[in-house]
Assembly symmetry: C4
Homo-oligomer: 233 residues x 4
């Protein structure tokens, strides 16, 4: 048995959640799960249909993006995952999808306004949308640069990747992450639901105001931080 | 066997209806069922996924919001349920969801206009939307105050909670209730359908007029009151 | 065995198609199937959930709206069915739903423009929308008058119920019919699909022109009339 | 066993994918699979419900549109398929659907703008929309002329059917094709997803710019051409 068996299983289970949550069409998505001790992550092989996936087919890659184990080519987005793992030491799962509503906001190059408590239960700011990348980044090592586009946009906005676990990449699609691959998948589903509700909100009321600070703080703190009282822990 | 077995079963069955009716994502919803004789209600435990729910996991809480039986923490919205049960003596079921279309209207801070007979079959007025709460209410006992925000808005509009069994809480999401938990769930599904059709109606015709009084009365009376002739009773 | 067994089976099967085609929520719809020789129709009992329906529960009603066989109360819309059967001798099936998009057009009091060949495959004109009924009709025998509202609108527009097998009743919802109950259900599903596509068409292009006459005639004649060449008959 | 067994099986399997991918209502779609060596294609019989389809019911037709084998009448769109196969020698599968969002763009007579990488992963230009056909073409051999309407629009725009494997026919609906019937079905599903996301993108941002050239080239080349690195081949 592979010494990477645990993350291969985690990555497999998390990848299989994507079609169940209606977050992917065909192979338009991928999840990875990292093992910090061994300095590697397990990721979906490129272009393999979900119904043909198995634990064994997961590819092991190090944080510089080099394949360590596995006979299949890893996801074409592997370098983006590697850059994020290398730079953000406390995340252990990353998801990329082209889910319908989140991708529409990305294509519209528009951050998703914080309109309600469903949003505030998960983050206290608009869901950021990184601008499309510069031509030289695109023509260079595109997926590698995509990772830095994400990191740089967080830096510019002064956001913490521990507090905001999702981003839209302009003209492209969403990325989410978390302490586990499972949490990163959860974040992708939340993002898609929030993205749909935000569009509907503006269709009902084009002048809909954003959520006020007191509600943002209250809802976020219900689920996060020292005073959290949501859930069983 | 618990002396609260009946309401635990009712609450469990009603909670399990939410994902089947596509009214919740993950754990974003909860149902309670009250026993007026014993002065308590059974409610979903906080943050427990629906697939892991069981009758035994339901938490028993009194109308002051104190846990009476159960090892798990009750829903974070428990105080809202308690306030509504305490103040509205004739309801025995309450549902809270973040269902997509109803939540969008809540985020838009807009009451849902009565555009058709589907709406009038269930209530004779616009579906009310309480304004976002005052900061001091939010920073205080938030979920407890949410109950009063609902009750106060009904008082301001002169509405009866026996005739109007649903409300949107501005920036947040819907609450519904009824004589049973099952009826409260039914109301949540009706609200979501009416919310979607109202948005579509305005997209087709931004000047769509509201339903006229004669149709409102006719449809409501078909299903309610002494002359009702819908159904088998 | 009832001498109405055949239409009871037809009505049962056709009613059960509604939830499968996502045309109804709860009990918001009904189908009937007529037997012209015996001068009666079988219809869904009022307010009975689809999962509790059976062939035996179908109610037999004559064309004056009187129950002939069955222990349950027939659909509250029974008088509308009776009027249509009595006045339109060549239809043997009627469906009423509150399907989402068709109902939104009815609430918007707007006929559905003929924008494409999917529409023209089934009828050559806009899908008509009868105006809301006059107050005296509503306060009188409402469901009976609904039947005449439909018939009168067809007369006003000079439409044939043999060529146009569907209508929206303003502020209310759609009715469809056909030579069989099965065909009437088919028409309800087609109406819902056409209603959705028409709304989307106008969202993409608010100035979208209607289909031109040559295409309307061509597509309708592919499926209907002496020169039809669609299908196997 | 028929000497056309292979393409009959391919056509059957590909047709059965359409309802699974939610691309058809009832019989509103058809797929064919060609055998270039034998100069024929297998296509769905006209008007037969998907649940009644079988490999044996597929109809074999030559590239002039004459039935070669099969007791059922072929799809009413057969002449369109024949024209495309005859003129475009390197395609072996064709799909026609009335899928919701793609058909709405066709009805709006609007090409689908290239707004994001999901689009660019599959083609580098707007998804073309052929204008409605001239009256004399419609009144003549309509389906045959539809094939030329498609081919002529590609010629006018200077597009290659090898690089752009999909088109909208104005007022009608989409056609897609590919090296295999399976690929053509894949393209139909991609088209529907891209069509939905493009509409949503413009609803969020009516001034949304198209994808810039560098991103278009990068994404297309990831999946196509000599330097492709998506997938396992």
């Amino acid at each position: 048995m592979s010494k990477y068996q645990t993350i291969k299983e985690q990555a497999y289970e998390a990848n299989m959640q994507l079609p169940q949550l209606n977050l992917v069409l065909f192979t338009f998505g991928n999840v990875s799960a990292a093992d910090r001790d061994q300095g590697v992550f397990a990721i979906k092989p490129s272009g393999v249909p979900y119904e043909q996936l198995s634990v064994e087919k997961m590819v092991i890659v190090d944080f510089d993006g080099h394949t360590v184990e596995g006979s299949l080519r890893p996801s074409s987005d592997t370098q983006t995952h590697a850059v994020l793992y290398k730079n953000w030491a406390d995340i252990n799962g990353i998801v990329h999808t082209h889910s319908t509503y989140a991708t529409a906001w990305a294509q519209a190059q528009t951050a998703i306004p914080i309109f309600g408590t469903t949003h505030a239960d998960h983050l206290t700011v608009d869901i950021p949308c990184a601008p499309p990348m510069a031509d030289e980044m695109i023509k260079g090592n595109y997926e590698y640069e995509t990772g830095f586009q994400i990191i740089n946009h967080f830096t510019e906005l002064g956001l913490s990747h521990k507090e905001v676990e999702m981003i839209l990449v302009g003209n492209h699609a969403p990325f989410t992450w978390g302490k586990t691959a499972e949490k990163a998948v959860y974040n992708s589903a939340v993002l898609e639901a929030v993205a749909q509700m935000a569009l509907l909100t503006r269709q009902i009321n084009p002048q809909a105001p954003k959520l006020k600070d007191s509600l943002i703080q209250k809802h976020f703190e219900r689920k996060h931080g020292a005073g959290a009282y949501y859930g069983q822990e």
